[in-house]
Every structure is written in C-alpha cells, then in structure tokens.
C-alpha cells in the first residue's frame, strides 16, 4: 500500500531526528497520501528549486518558510502569497531569507514550501487532539476571531459517525456564516462533514498522531480544501 509507505516514511524520518512536530510539507504530504484534501506543498531548498516547483504547479503560488524552530511563520515574515511569475518567486525567496534570518537568526532553515494558491473561501478549522480522559477527539470551528476570541468550537470523540460530523458543523454559533449571509455563497457543509469523517478515520488508523490542525480549511460552495496543516506525533514511548 503506497499510502502507508509515505506515512510510515514521514513518521520514521521525524522520529529518527527526535522530532514530534512535522513540518508543513511533511504534514501535507502525509495528508495527501492519506486521501485528505489539502493544497499540495513542496519543499524547495533554494531559489532555483522554488522557481522550478512554482513553474510546475502554475501561478499564482504561496511561499512559506520551513523551519523546525519557527511556529508562527507570518510573525517573522515567513509567508508570502500571490507570487505570479518566476522573478517574483526568486526575489520573494531572497527577501524571505533576509527577513527571517534577521528576526530569527538562530533558527535552522530547511527551505521554503511552494504551493499553489487556493482561491479564498470561508475559513474553518478542523483539528484533532488527544484528551487525557477520552483519548483522541476532534474539533470543528470557524477560523480567525471565532476560534481565537469566541472559542466557538465543537468537539466529539473519535471515531465520528456521520451524525456526529453533521452536529459538529451545525452546533457552532457561527453556523449562519457557513450557511451564507448577505447574498454570499454558503459553504458546502457536506464537504466539511466528509473532511471531518476522513480525518477521524486517519486518526483511528494512525495512533502515532497526537495532534492535528487543518487551519485554515477553505470552504467553498462546492468542496473544501485545507491550505495549512500541522501534525504533532506522540513521543515514541507514548505510543
């Protein structure tokens, strides 16, 4: 099974380096291999590689810093969106390296991730974590202020049944935003439900995963895709 091989390789690699936190590229590669809808991301180690990946993906692209020491990429100038040609990718790369190394001079830099730029949608967050009493649990909420300030989220214990996914999406107070307000398109609630269910299945399949954030997921009137992902593994003796 190819998908198992990719996931196994990523997990083994991280563990051999003593890491529990997977990089964005590793997280996304794992998710793609497991059949979860995420924007493709590739790790470029220099400007030339960055350009070549951008060319193969097609413009516009997003570039993000990849470093095990940087948790909040945008705070250090580690995220640039909307790069439309090879010159912008090249200069964007150089500028990002300069900014990041001046703000976070001690951070180990692996390179940058290049990914195609998803068209904006309603931002939601889908996540999983390990509860000390109930084990793996899943979370759903609207992105941004709804999660950060209002903590408007719903939880369920893994494994989810279709009814649970349905309730999670509909239980949050911000539901009207997902349903579409002021003439705006609503979100494809069924796509969000299936995303929740496939993440639940992944968590069941791979008990090595301790935490997972798909943040944000762009929800469209037709479909949904995760544009950023983060996976944390259980420490090896914990599993």
């Amino acid at each position: 099974m190819t998908s198992l091989t990719v996931t196994d390789t990523i997990i083994t690699q991280a563990r051999s380096e003593g890491r529990s936190l997977l990089s964005e590229v590793e997280s996304k590669n794992l998710l793609v291999a497991e059949g979860i809808s995420v924007t493709d991301a590739q790790l470029a180690r220099d400007a030339t590689e960055a350009v070549s990946f951008a060319e193969s993906l097609g413009y516009p692209v997003v570039m993000k810093i990849i470093s095990p020491d940087i948790a909040h990429k945008s705070d250090v100038g580690g995220v640039v969106v909307g790069l439309t040609d090879s010159d912008q990718v090249k200069s964007g790369y150089d500028e990002m390296m300069r900014k990041v190394s001046s703000v976070a001079s001690t951070a180990k830099i692996d390179g940058v991730s290049i990914q195609s730029m998803a068209k904006p949608g309603i931002e939601v967050i889908i996540g999983a974590t390990t509860d000390p009493q109930f084990g793996p649990v899943m979370m759903f909420g609207l992105g941004g202020v709804f999660v950060e300030v209002l903590k408007d989220v719903s939880f369920r214990v893994v494994p989810l049944e279709p009814r649970d996914a349905k309730q999670m999406v509909r239980e949050i107070k911000a539901l009207p935003i997902l349903e579409g307000v002021r003439g705006q398109d609503g979100a494809d609630l069924q796509a969000l439900e299936s995303l929740l269910l496939s993440v639940s299945e992944l968590i069941e399949r791979r008990p090595e995963i301790a935490e997972l954030d798909l943040n944000p997921v762009f929800a469209y009137s037709d479909g949904a895709i995760a544009v950023d992902a983060r996976i944390v593994l259980h420490s090896q003796d914990g599993v």
């Binding site: 509860d131 009493q133 369920r156 943040n215």
Partner: protein, 474 residues
C-alpha cells in the same frame, strides 16, 4: 476491574445486610435501614456501642464471618485503619459486595492513605469482590428499603435510577425527585470508585429494570473510552441525564496546536455527552427539571404545542419561551376555531393559540374539557399542552384543581402527548406561600411535570423532545 455481575447484582439488591461499625447515639446506618425488608445484622466490637444496637433488636456479632447465612451487602462505617480487616472478613464470608462509607483514603492525597486504599483495592480485585466507594454514601434501593438517608422512601415501583460521584448530590437528586412525585428505584453513591467504577455502574444500568431513566452526577471518569462506549449503549436504550460538575474552561495545556489549546475539559465533556445521546444538565434544579419531563411526560417528538395561559401578558410570555426553546405554537384548524368560537369568552380572552383562558375556564371546569377535546382532535398539535395553573382558592376548594388535573390526565392518555403544568410567580399563582407550595405539590403528586417558570418548563420539555426525536431516528 472486570466486576462479577452476579455479585454486584447481590450487593445492589441485597436480601441480607450487615452494618459494620455503626455508632450511637443516632446509629445512622441502622436507623436508615428501619424499613429494610431483608435480614439486617450488625457487627460492632465496641462494648459502649453494643447495648444501643441490641435495644433496636438487631442481632450483633463481633465479625462478619460470624453472621449466619448468606450476606449480600456489607455497609462498612469503621475508622479507616480498621477497613482492611473488615474487607478481609467480607472476602472470607464471600459476601455479595461491600459499600464503604469510611473515608480518608486517596482523596486526602496523603501517601499513607493512598497506600491504605491500595491495600483494600488489591484485596477486592484479587478476590473479585465488588466494592462501592470508599468515601461514599453507598446504596439506596427503594423496593427493598436499603437507604442512606432516612428521608428516602420505601415502596414499589421505579421511575429512575441515579449514579452520583458526590453523596450530597446523590441525596439531592433522590430527595428532589421524590418531592416532584418521582419514584427513585435506586441510587448508587460511587465515591472514589476505585474497584467498581462509573463504567461498571453504567454497564449495569443498561439492563436494570429499576432504572428506566438514568440520572448521573459525575466529575471525572477513570476510563474515558470505556465510559463513553457504555454511555452510548445506555442512552440508546433509555433516557440519560448527566450533570457534570467541576469542569474547567482553562486551556488544556501547553500545546503545539490550536486544537489542543481549545480542548478544555468542559468543551470535550460537552461534546462527549451530546455524542453519546445523553442529555447534559448544569445544576441540580436543571437535572430535576429534565427528569420531571422525562418521567411525567410520555415520549413524544412532536414540536407543535398548545399553550394555555390565564392572562394576555402570560400568554405572550409563555409563547416567547416555547418558541425560544425551539417549539412551534401553530394556529389551529378552522374546524377547531369554529368549535372554540361557540363557547370561548373572547372579551378579555383569546383562543388562537396561545390561549388567554382565565375568563373561560376559571369557574367552568367543563370548558377546559371542551378545549382539550378540540386540541386532541387537532392534528397541528402534536407536541403536547403547557398550561398555566392557578393556585387561587386551592386552600378552600382543592377539588377544582383535582378536576382540572383529571381532565389533563385524560388528554395525556388519549393523545400520548406531554402535559406540562406551569405555576410561575405572578400571573395565576397567588395566595399564601403554604398554599402555593401545597398546590404545586398536589400537581407533582398527580404525576405532572410542574415548573416555577415558563422558561424552565420550555427548556426541560425541549431537551426531552430532542432526546426522543433522536431515539426515533435510530
């Protein structure tokens, strides 16, 4: 622990009970058992305490092993240092199980006390003997008259079973339910729950006929996944109400992900309870409100309610609360309006639904009968009737309220829909406090859920409606 179900069955439904270590002057445990229907014995070695026990004509022995015949339950109330000795005797006697009131174990956090508890647990687990507690009030069994509060009733019948991690709340739910006209078949105060834990009890209650409805007070669980899976099975079979205490909103812990930082204890418990199909509640009165609706109203998933208030203002207030809780307050059929139009007093009154009915039914009980006949025939009403009842004149003429309740009971039987009694302050509730209390008590005793506010009644009914509509969808 894999609990021996047969032994747990004996312990929870004991035909013989030994109380160990009870003390005068009150002899609380032996006095609690004054209506016990089985064989009651005492074990006490303190010469100062023995005469008081013998005065009660309760045979006293110096060891559990000396008690004649089979012993199903040992109620242990000895000082903690003695507890392991009593456990040893109970194991030797092969009793059904032990309920341990004795406290001062792991809950103290003292290393010696933790060690002492471990000694007891190991002995119970090794011999397969169920232990309820320690640090608990133990077992109430209504039919057998096994009690941990002398106010608990003895008698036949059972509407619900209770599990409580707190003795106080176990008593609170038991007595509060009784006061609202509900029969509590059993209550288990589970204490530290170190041998039999909450999952064992939940699994036991799945097939327990004494617990057609289950209420729980819990703070935490020992084995979350097992508890969740048992709770799911229970809720699919019977209504379960869970009051969860001691939750915290503090962010879970230092975490790498957003999800982990948002996974507070309260948020996860709330999701877990909803997922199981159980009904979450937030306080004792909230729990009792929902229990009253579950016990005293037929299972019903309909949303179309008829609201009968005594004044215009109250008819607006009750409608606001039912709509807020998710109910419909539909218009009635033309046929219904035609019949109502023949007798309803519309000067200072209205019958569109909500009803403003004081002038029509205040003195004419037969008019209530006519209204209920119309509602029973109207297919727009499928979620029951909520009616504001008056206390005025209850002290002089209690038969009037009784006659109204008879009609409401008849409606409930005919339609299999809920009838909810509303007796909020203001409006139709007036008179001396004692009269108001007596009137409310009479309504509860007649088997109706009665609420002191429209809001509490509407919310309680909405949550039971929600439960039944889920159950019917399975």
């Amino acid at each position: 622990m894999a609990v021996d179900r047969n032994r747990l069955e004996r312990a929870l439904n004991p035909k013989s009970v030994v109380v160990v270590g009870d003390k005068g002057p009150g002899y609380m445990w032996l006095s609690n058992m004054s209506e016990y229907t089985g064989a009651l014995y005492s074990v006490q070695v303190d010469p100062n305490e023995i005469p008081g026990i013998e005065e009660k004509n309760i045979p006293n022995f110096s060891s559990v092993t000396e008690v004649p015949g089979e012993v199903d339950l040992v109620v242990c109330a000895v000082p903690r240092q003695i507890a392991p000795i009593i456990i040893g005797q109970a194991i030797e006697k092969q009793v059904g199980g032990v309920s341990m009131f004795t406290s001062g174990f792991a809950e103290t956090g003292e290393p010696d006390a933790i060690e002492l508890q471990k000694k007891i647990v190991d002995a119970c687990v090794e011999s397969g003997m169920p232990l309820v507690g320690p640090n608990c009030m133990g077992i109430y069994n209504r039919e057998l008259g096994v009690k941990f509060s002398n106010q608990q009733e003895q008698g036949s019948g059972s509407d619900l079973g209770v599990i409580s991690q707190s003795g106080t709340h176990g008593i609170g739910i038991s007595l509060g339910s009784q006061r609202l006209g509900m029969k509590v078949g059993r209550t288990i105060s589970i204490g530290n729950a170190v041998v039999c834990n909450e999952s064992d009890y939940v699994e036991y209650l799945i097939d327990d006929e004494k617990s057609p409805i289950v209420a729980m007070y819990l703070e935490g669980v020992k084995d979350g996944p097992r508890f969740f899976s048992a709770l799911k099975k229970l809720a699919q079979k019977k209504p379960v109400v869970i009051w969860r205490g001691g939750g915290t909103d503090a962010g879970a812990r230092a975490a790498h992900s957003h999800t982990a930082s948002l996974a507070t204890d309260t948020a996860v418990w709330d999701g877990m309870i909803r997922q199981s199909g159980a009904i979450p509640t937030e306080s004792l009165e909230d729990t009792l409100d929902v229990l009253a609706a579950l016990v005293h109203a037929p299972a019903c998933a309909g949303l179309g309610t008829a609201l009968v208030a005594m004044t215009g203002g109250q008819s607006v207030a009750i409608t606001d609360q039912f709509q807020r809780a998710g109910f419909d307050v539909p218009e009635l059929s033309q046929k219904s309006y035609d019949i109502l139009g023949e007798f309803f007093v519309t000067i200072g009154g209205s019958y569109r639904n909500p009803f403003d009915a004081a002038s029509t039914i205040r003195s004419e009980t037969e008019n209530l009968e006519k209204i209920l006949e119309v509602l029973a025939e109207d297919s727009n009403i499928d979620g029951g009737v909520a009616i504001e009842l008056t206390t005025a004149g209850f002290d002089k003429e209690p038969e009037r309220l009784a006659a109204q309740l008879d009609l409401l009971a008849e409606y409930r039987t005919k339609t299999n829909q809920p009838v909810v009694a509303m007796m909020p302050e203001g409006g139709a509730v007036s008179g001396q406090t004692e009269v108001v209390i007596a009137a409310r008590t009479a309504v509860s005793a007649a088997g109706f859920p009665v609420y002191p506010s429209f809001r509490r009644g509407a919310e309680a009914l909405a949550r039971t409606q929600d439960y039944w509509s889920w159950r019917y969808s399975l």
